[in-house]
Symmetry: C2
């Protein structure tokens, strides 16, 4: 018999993930706020649900891939929430990127219904979701990790970082590094340009050295081509750096470089660039230096 | 007949580079301030020189791999300097990392002696020098680049970035990115640790994603193992960020993240860690947060 899985949130990331699970032989019950996004999944064999809590019927695992913490909270724990409809001993896997504190709080509330809770945010973007090559950062008890590792392996490379919350913590670490690297690459390419060198050739000269990275290669390319189609919108990046800095404050840490990067992203969004790819941060640095942006 | 090459400065980087040139069939004349460092090269077939300017005798190319701009200046252009001893039409290749402005000035002075000038700083560290895999960022006229490209290919991957000065500019770009990435990786791993996750496992979870980089892998490892044997000493890193920020000011650019990173390295050195690897910046972030450092 096929293992039944509930899947909530079939957007840019969720849709290709749900499809991989169907193709791997899981029996999926799916829900999305805009129900037309379910159609391709239903065509592939998924059962559509009219209400979110219906995904819980007869399944042992529910995956949540909604866009943010408050939405997750409302759908999982609100009136007619999903978790209260789940079977005792079933597991909810939150793959959205949400605050560490929210994760820990949700796990506590899930336990009140006898439901196991795992946080498993991802990195690798839309392409990673499509190719099932995502980094999956898991916060879970050892037992819960074992029970879902096979399912998560269909979607990418799951690593148990620690108990509940540690997946989100690792994701914050990931996003801080991504945001900081985008910022320093922006400043460095701007220096190259202003100094009269071609940023494209400089990038080529740096390939293979210590300054090389997926950010220099992919996001650097977008900066050079001045093409900021997301990708990862800057407003999501700001949500992540805000979460990271807020969590840092909770644990009594001051992070000077991350704070500076956060303020650059905040200004970028204030200036109307929130829906551009986060590599568009170079536009904000141009503005700060009185250089015209297209 | 073997092509004659003069080589000045056979330290940590220079020695393996000189050896590669000898093995590739160039006839080397070598000089170093501490003459005992010449011994292994002489054993391999190089001609030792008692004074720096003697490397210029009968050679068409002189390579300079001294530690900083003032030292280069003194040896190349001081009393009994190397350049005045070089043949008309010969080429001096400065592979040290020095200020862009110094490079342009040295090129002008070399031209007064009829000597061609190329700047070709490198990235990839000791390991890159030993394995001849260095990124070599070249500032030169097209003709000069063609005349030395074969020789530089023995040492790594030369890319002509633009006219004289552009090699140093690319190196500044490289070092800014390295310094900034070290800083944000330090902050991010500190956040992981303070949040109760193992930085080593978080690093493993991030592998292959957008946050991955040679810095996360190699310098992150040093942070996790608390082993800051250089590698690249922090005091050299500060020299590079200072050069970059000074050059940025010259071309009217303000770089907020680079400035913050520079001030962290300055504090690290003030606190006595200048001879540690630059990944030891995490110690400075610990200090700032009142966390004891070993």
């Amino acid at each position: 018999m096929k293992l039944g899985v509930g899947f909530i949130g079939t957007g840019i990331m969720g849709a290709p993930m749900a499809l991989h699970l169907i193709q791997a032989g899981f029996s999926l019950r799916v829900w999305n706020r805009s129900s037309e996004k379910l159609d391709p999944l239903v065509a592939a064999g998924a059962v559509p649900c009219a209400h979110a809590n219906e995904v819980a019927e007869g399944v042992s695992i529910v995956i949540c891939m909604l866009s943010d913490g408050p939405t997750c909270d409302a759908i999982l724990f609100g009136r007619e929430g999903v978790v209260q409809s789940m079977a005792q001993g079933a597991t909810v896997v939150v793959m959205s990127s949400i605050a560490v504190e929210t994760t820990v709080d949700q796990a506590r509330r899930a336990a009140e219904f006898g439901v196991h809770y795992v946080d498993a945010p991802v990195s690798g973007g839309q392409l990673g979701a499509r190719n099932a090559t995502m980094a999956i950062m898991v916060g879970a008890s050892e037992g819960d990790f074992i029970s879902i590792a096979q399912l998560l392996s269909v979607l990418g490379r799951p690593v148990r970082v620690g108990p509940v919350g540690c997946g989100q913590l690792a994701k914050l670490v990931n996003q801080l590094i991504v945001a900081g690297t985008i910022a320093i690459v922006s400043e460095a390419l701007l220096l190259a340009e202003r100094g009269g060198a071609s940023p494209a050739i400089v990038r080529e000269a740096l390939a293979g050295g210590f300054a090389d990275s997926p950010i220099l290669r992919q996001h650097g390319q977008r900066m050079i081509e001045n093409d900021f189609t997301p990708g990862g919108p800057a407003k999501w990046q700001l949500k992540d750096t805000r979460n990271a800095l807020s969590y840092a404050q909770t644990v009594g840490l001051s992070l000077p470089v991350a704070s500076m990067v956060d303020s650059l992203f905040a200004d970028m969004i204030t200036h109307g660039d929130g829906n551009l790819d986060h590599s568009g941060l170079i536009r904000e640095l141009r503005r700060r230096n009185g250089i015209a942006v297209a």
